[in-house]
Structures are given as structure tokens and as C-alpha cells.
Symmetry: C2
Subunit: 196 residues, 2 copies
């Protein structure tokens, strides 16, 4: 059974999600992509609940092995960074409640994994997604495309250094089981020489 | 039936909670206080799940009318601010899932409400809690005391300007019902001249 990753681009107005399945070698296929939208007219509790329900529905529908989330730093765009972190907390708990492993990736890690350059722009990322996933066009809006890129990053980088970076601590035994499954998947990928 | 408030001082290592019931006039009584602790040795998903379960248990046990949470700004202590915001998101969704209204209060609002000065220190706040709630000693640790202070702030400030500040938008109808109930409670308090 191939590894399935749900990528999440956390945001309060548009929370992107993208589900991919690992193929042979470094190939992957797109299973689902979209955004959960909330209105700035609504209060923060109504909005976070809508995102929680939207992401929960996608987790229940697709049963991912890992939930990968973009890591946002406090130094970033201040007005939105706190609500982005709130969405991140909600997404992490949704995964943890189901024993699904989580990982966090920085924007530059995502850019580097998908395009080979940590300074790639949105257009370059979207062009790579079209190529890598054999799509007719890049997922829209940008938040949806970003979520797919985060999922691909998880597939290719795996849990090693990213995992330590995301946790700042040791793994629990349940997480070790997931890590082992991922290592097996990575070994399968590494044993192939095809890159596309 | 008197208004019951659950105050939350969001934090990843120690998440404080305090439950108070409104009394006559501006009096209040302490129902429960404590902290949900998590270990820095554990991963972020394990820690957020533990806090989610701990707060959920307290919400189920005490059925608060309002959940009041300390509002943290991105400018604050950077290393912990993101995890604090993640805990905040989790707490907001726990309340929203149950139709419980939420409110956010800044540290200076809490200090001003409890001591009369927005620049009060921890000792002054704790001394006021002992007096206001007729306790033998201030709740320990400080995170637990802070949570009680946040709950008192909600009781006394009510949903008016704080609510608008917390939401940045209009109220939904379900929230209007809560707001109406709170207004009724505030009217009852305002009609009394006693302050304790």
C-alpha cells in the first residue's frame, strides 16, 4: 500500500489541502486538492470551527498516513501569523486524535524540495506540480497548490531531520511505528533510479 | 443560574485553566483551577493532543457559558508565541464545537480588570485574586492564577468591546444569543451597588 500524504497550507480565509499518493520511484499522483474557505465577516470561533470541520472531513475521506503542514514563523506577516498558527494547532490535533503522524515544513524547504531552489517563486512551484503530477493545469487557488507542494515535500524529505526540527524532542513509540513505515517507503523510492 | 466562565492561559508546557461562577454584584466564586502540563520531551502533536484532552475534560466537567482566553501577540516572546497560538486555536475550537462563546483578552486588559492598573505585576494580580475570591492563598502555579484572572476579566468586562476586538467582525446569531444572556447577567450585576 502506497504512502498517502495530506498537505495543509494553514490559513484562516483560505486553508489549502492537497492529498497525494506515493507512486514508484519518485512519482506521485494527486488524489484531492482544494481549499476550506471562511469569511472575514465571521468571528474567529466560527471560522476555526469551519476549518476544523473541513479538514476533519478530508482526513476521514482520505485516511492519510501523514499530515504535513507548512511551518510559519512569528517573524512573518504579523497580522495573519497568529491565526495561521491557530489553524496549525487545530490541524495538528485533528491528526493526533487519529494517531496520524504530523510533520512541519518551512516554505523554503517546500520550494527546495519541489523545484530544487529554496528561492523559487509561486509560478515555478506551480509549473513543477503540473509536471510532477502530470496535471493539465496547476491547482487553484495558490493555497491549494501550496498544500500539494507541502505534501510532495513530505513524501520526498521524509521524517528524518524534518521530524526532529518539527518536534524539538524525542519520538514516542506510536510515532516510531510511522517513522518505520516511512523509512520502508523511502527505501523503496531510493532503490529506484527513475526521477521522471 | 449564574454565569460560569472558564479562563484559559494558553501555553504548551503549562496551560492554565480557571473556572469561576458569577455571584451577586461583582462577587465571584472559584470552582476549579489548575494547569494541564506537557513535557518538552514529547513531540508537538503529543503535547497539543494532551492539552486538547485536558481542556476538553474541564469543559465537559464544568459546562462553562463562556471560554475566555488570553490573547497573545506575535510581537511577544517569539520562541513560544507560535505554540501559544496553536494552543489558543485548539481551545477556541473545543468551545465552538459545543456552541460555547469565546472571548480573547490581552494581558493588559486582564491586569486592568483585576487590579485597576494595566501595569500591575504578577504579585499584585495574585493578591487581588485572594481578596476577590476569598482564598487562603493564590492559585499555583502562576499560569493557573493567570487563567482565573482571565476568567474574572471576562465576567467584569463582558462581551462588548472585547468581543469586537476578538472577532474583527460581526456576530453570528448563535453568538447573539450568548451576548444577550451575558447582557442580562451584566444588567443584574450593574443593578447592584455592592462591589464584592
Amino acid at each position: 500500500m502506497s504512502l498517502r500524504v495530506l498537505g495543509v497550507d494553514p490559513g484562516l480565509t483560505r486553508c489549502g489541502y492537497g492529498v497525494i499518493d506515493a507512486g514508484s520511484g519518485r512519482s506521485a499522483s494527486l488524489v484531492d486538492v482544494g481549499v476550506v474557505r471562511t469569511s472575514p465577516e465571521d468571528t474567529i470561533d466560527v471560522r476555526l470551527l469551519a476549518i476544523s470541520r473541513g479538514l476533519e472531513a478530508k482526513i476521514e475521506e482520505h485516511a492519510p498516513d501523514v499530515v504535513a503542514i507548512e511551518r510559519v514563523f512569528a517573524q512573518a506577516n504579523t497580522p495573519t501569523v497568529m491565526s495561521t498558527a491557530q489553524v496549525t494547532g487545530v490541524a495538528i490535533v485533528l491528526a493526533a486524535q487519529r494517531g496520524i503522524r504530523i510533520a512541519l515544513h518551512t516554505p523554503s524547504e517546500v520550494k527546495a524540495a519541489v523545484t530544487g531552489s529554496g528561492r523559487a517563486d509561486k509560478k515555478q512551484i506551480q509549473a513543477m506540480l503540473v509536471k510532477l503530477l502530470r496535471l493539465d493545469a496547476a491547482p487553484q487557488p495558490a493555497d491549494a497548490a501550496d498544500a500539494v507542494a507541502i505534501a510532495l515535500t513530505q513524501l520526498w524529505r521524509g521524517p528524518g531531520p524534518v521530524r526532529r526540527d518539527a518536534s524539538g524532542g524525542a519520538r514516542t513509540s506510536a510515532q516510531s511505528v510511522w517513522a518505520e513505515a516511512e523509512r520502508a517507503a523511502r527505501r523503496a523510492r531510493d532503490s529506484s533510479t527513475s526521477r521522471f
